[in-house]
């Protein structure tokens, strides 16, 4: 069966304060990177799925929505790529 490599990107919704991003931004400013703004910290989840493309896509969508992200606060998108066996 084919294998797929998936990347799921989970980011906080724009309306939600991101204390981690703010901390990084402050640290960067301290180090002289004054031209940096809008820092946001999200998650990158990588995983491998075995199966046929349509099923795998549906599964990934469901997993992302139900487990890998919390739709109340987070946005998520994903990429899927077939993996050479």
């Amino acid at each position: 069966m084919p294998q797929y490599h998936a990347k799921v990107f989970v980011t906080l919704k724009p309306s939600i304060l991101d204390p981690q991003g703010r901390t990084v931004e402050r640290a960067l400013a301290h180090l002289g990177h004054a031209n940096v703004s809008g820092v946001r910290v999200g998650k990158l989840i990588e995983l491998t799925l075995t199966g046929e493309r349509p099923e795998v896509e549906a599964q990934l969508a469901a997993m992302t929505r139900e487990v890998l992200s919390n739709p109340i606060m987070e946005d998520a998108r994903w990429e899927l790529e077939e993996r050479p066996a």
């Binding site: 890998l68 919390n70 109340i72």
Partner: protein, 222 residues
């Protein structure tokens, strides 16, 4: 009141919860393992304790909320049975959809363990009947992700319906509206970040958490 304390593999306040419940409410309270599909017959109160229920690396409570026992807990809540979620238990309740909103990382990104002051905002619930409205309690917190968030409509509704049960006097984590604990619409599910089970013995510094268990003693499953 027949109480079941749910144990996830990474629960770490499970024994504390059982100890406090046995002391105040139900000498026969029992643990229930997360892989069980049913609660023990006759369960009146389900206690979801604090901890790092399922490793919780991804998001607090996310994985526990999808464990087999949670289906039974939802059914129990649906029947009007009492559910108390403390700290990680609160996070599990929001992840499971039994309470609205979400808990994110503390504003300063640090874990905080300290006694805090809570104002009882609604003394009319089954969990707070033993308190006076406006009473200030001292109960410890111990969490890194207790920053309560919900969209503005949800917050407005919680406020309008008196479902904000406990509010921080000095907000330690950035929670919207200083929210420390909320109930569901029906009033039978309470989630709170502070740990009442750590405040039931004078030896440990405060007995202010006892009221929650004492309130439940008098309450009847609706």
């Amino acid at each position: 009141m027949n109480t079941a304390v749910i144990q996830f593999p990474g629960s770490n306040c499970d024994a504390d919860a059982l100890h406090a419940v046995r002391l105040t409410l139900d000498p026969d309270a029992q643990f229930v393992w997360h892989t069980e599909a049913e609660l023990p017959p006759g369960t009146e109160l389900v206690f979801l304790p604090g901890g790092f229920s399922y490793g919780d690396h991804l998001r607090s409570g996310a994985i526990a909320a999808r464990s087999p026992i949670m289906a039974a807990v939802k059914a129990h809540a649906g029947r009007g049975g009492f559910v108390l979620g403390v700290c990680n238990g609160f996070q599990v309740l929001t992840e499971a959809g039994l309470l609205p909103g979400a808990l994110s990382r503390n504003r300063d990104l640090h874990f905080h363990c300290a006694p805090v002051h809570l104002r009882v905002e609604n003394a009319q619930t089954a969990f707070t009947g033993a308190y006076q409205s406006g009473q200030v309690l001292e109960i410890p917190i111990a969490h890194g992700e207790g920053n309560y968030y919900a969209d503005p409509e949800t917050i407005a509704r919680l406020e309008a319906e008196g479902r904000v049960v406990f509010r921080y006097v000095d907000n330690p984590n950035g929670s919207l509206n200083d929210i420390a604990g909320i109930v569901n619409e029906r009033g039978n599910v309470l989630g709170m970040m502070p740990h009442p089970e750590r405040a039931v013995e004078a030896l440990l510094g405060s007995e202010d958490g006892r009221g929650i268990f004492e309130s439940l003693k008098g309450a009847l499953v609706q």
